[in-house]
C-alpha cells in the first residue's frame, strides 16, 4: 500500500494549469509578488514559500508542500521551530495548538480538517488561514491561552 501511494504520488501533484490558476488568484488578490515563490513545479518536489507578516510586524515564512496538492491537504510548515509560551518546542501534534507532528525542525500547522478538504481550496485560502493561525500564535505567546481558545476546530 505504501509503495502504491509513493507510485501514485509521482502523478498526483500540482499540474501547470493549476499552478497558473493559483498564481492568477494571488495576482487578483494583490498579494505582492515578492512575498511568494513557487519552486519545483513540474518536478516531484514542488512547493511554495510565502512570507507572512503578522499585525505586530513579525515575519514568518510558510512552506507549503505541493506534491499531492490539490487532491490532498498540503502540509504547511513555518520554516522554524516555534516555541510556545512556556518555551517548549511546538514539535508535536496538538489539537489545542492546531499543530501536527513537525518535520525537519519546522513547526507544522494543522490548517484544514480532513472532512472539509476539497481540491477546490486555493493556496490563497490556505495562506490566509495560516496567517490567522500566526496571529493566534502571537496571542498565545502574550496570554498563555491555547490557540484553540481563538480558533475553533474544523471537521
Amino acid at each position: 500500500m505504501k509503495l502504491l501511494r509513493i507510485f501514485l504520488r509521482r502523478f498526483i501533484m500540482i499540474d501547470y494549469k493549476r499552478y497558473k490558476l493559483e498564481k492568477e488568484v494571488f495576482q487578483k488578490e494583490k498579494l505582492p509578488e515578492a512575498a511568494y515563490r513557487f519552486i519545483g513545479i513540474g518536478t516531484d518536489n514542488p512547493y511554495l514559500r510565502i512570507a507572512a507578516r503578522t499585525n505586530s510586524g513579525k515575519i514568518y515564512t510558510l512552506h507549503i508542500e505541493l506534491s499531492s496538492f490539490p487532491e490532498s491537504i498540503p502540509e504547511v510548515y513555518v520554516t522554524k521551530m516555534l516555541k510556545d509560551s512556556n518555551g517548549k518546542n511546538m514539535s508535536g501534534a496538538s489539537a489545542q495548538m492546531h499543530t501536527l507532528t513537525s518535520s525537519g525542525g519546522w513547526t507544522r500547522i494543522c490548517h484544514y480538517g480532513y472532512n472539509s478538504w476539497t481540491p477546490m481550496v486555493s493556496l490563497f485560502k490556505i495562506y490566509v488561514k495560516c496567517r490567522l493561525w500566526l496571529e493566534a500564535y502571537e496571542a498565545h505567546l502574550k496570554t498563555g491561552n491555547t490557540i484553540d481558545t481563538y480558533l475553533v476546530h474544523q471537521s
Partner: protein, 61 residues
Amino acid sequence: MVQSSEEIARGAREISDGKTMQRMVFNPETGEFTMVTSSDPRILEGQIVDDFSRDGFAIEL
C-alpha cells in the same frame, strides 16, 4: 492603528461564537487583519474572511 494579535484572535473567536457583529477583513497588500464594523470602508480595501460560522476555522474566500 494596527490591531493587536489578541484583538484579532479574540475577534476570530467571537465571530465563530456569533458574539459580535463585527467582520474580519484581510488586506493582502499589507498583510494585515482588521476587525471592522460592517459599514467600515476598509471592507472595500480588503477582503472579508470571517466565515467561521459554518464549520469552525473555515475561512471562505
